[in-house]
Symmetry: C2
Subunit: 202 residues, 2 copies
DNA sequence: CGATTCTTTGAAAACAGTCAATCTGTGTGG
DNA sequence: CCACACAGATTGACTGTTTTCAAAGAATCG
């Protein structure tokens, strides 16, 4: 009884992640404690950065609420969004964090966003000490990989207009939540073109 | 001595994979034996299929030599290549194999290709029994994910011509090895357009 | 209310696709 | 060994989608 009560207390800020993990893998109670002891909660204000170009990425971020964007500044000076970080999604610059090289990207909060933060150092130890956590992360990487392959497929096989229609029907609420110019960038066309599409549909 | 000799014998068809794994993770000798006991060598003739649309994908393929292509037939009847499987690359339809759902894709040998085959069932057992193998696969998924993110970046940020130039300078030998129409499909434009590019460059 | 940020509009231009015909090379069967 | 068939590569005219540029119009925030 007492232990259970303590458990709930301790998990308070972490239960969303533990619940998510439990969909894919099974951690022992001891491993849950070990994992959560390494997590740090962070509230990121709108437009604040978790990563900027030139920095070596040192953390993995698990989004609890809000929205992050992962983008780069291209040579013409414009921003190109490559990914969004939505709740229950892990985000990091995996190339930078893995090879300890400076990142080409920015990770910025689109709106007030809550994340759990895990250092590379702690993550490596956890991968080593908790096989079930390593397996969970393997499945997350596989999921992210298939999602990005699907995006490549959409960009290769469908017109800009079809991509817009498909995305808005799949994520109608998310589309409302972010500025249109970010959606346009993510989908791979200009804000002007998106504006034209919307005019046609109304 | 005797054991070492036997080892080499047993590893004969598998040492390429074991060598590749050793770059990312460390398997005990017993775990190497367990892994290799589950691998099956397969020679795939040019144009033969490892997966066809409608089938549930049941295997992971590790390419030893040759080249596989991962593609789909789009509604206009044309083939769209999404990935190539080159030596030391794992290829599968991870969505189909994971969710046990029919695949939308084909995996076909571009030329005579050698692969190692692992069933989903055996792979799941290995992930469970050999944490280091699970970690290796986590890193492979992460690598594949970053590679496909990089491709999305190229498609969003660079013109068709720039993508062609970048790809041919990065993989000059691979470009020679495959038909031009496959390269064009992979890079996201038409064979005619590619032909025009080549005419300009000569 | 003013300043900034975001969205919309329209015209001109660029980029890449489509269609159709021709050319090239390669391998196979007569 | 030649002739034919077929797969792949090339060429050019035409079409269409999306971008660019420039300006004006909303919306949001301090």
């Amino acid at each position: 009884m007492k232990q259970r009560h303590l458990t709930l207390q301790a998990m308070n800020q972490h239960d969303q992640l533990l619940k998510h993990i439990s969909k894919f893998s099974t951690l022992t109670y001891e491993h849950e404690l070990l994992l959560t002891s390494k997590l740090r909660y962070k509230l990121v204000e709108k437009k604040d950065f978790l990563l900027q170009e030139g920095q070596v990425c040192t953390h993995y971020y698990f989004v609890l609420s809000g929205c992050l964007r992962f983008y780069k500044i291209i040579n013409t000076g414009f921003e190109q969004i490559l990914q969004f970080g939505i709740p229950n999604w892990w985000l990091s610059d995996y190339r930078s964090i893995n090879d300890q090289r400076p990142s080409d990207y920015y990770i910025q909060a689109v709106e007030k966003t809550e994340v759990l933060v895990l250092t590379k150092h702690d993550a490596d130890a956890l991968f080593n000490d908790i096989p079930a956590f390593s397996s969970y992360f393997r499945l997350m990487m596989q999921k992210a990989y298939t999602a990005s392959l699907k995006k490549i497929e959409l960009m290769l096989c469908e017109s800009a207009e079809d991509r817009y229609v498909e995305f808005t029907t799949n994520f109608p609420d998310f589309v409302q939540q972010i500025p249109q110019y970010m959606l346009a960038s993510f989908l791979g066309f200009t804000p002007q073109f998106l504006s034209g599409l919307r005019a046609k549909k109304l």
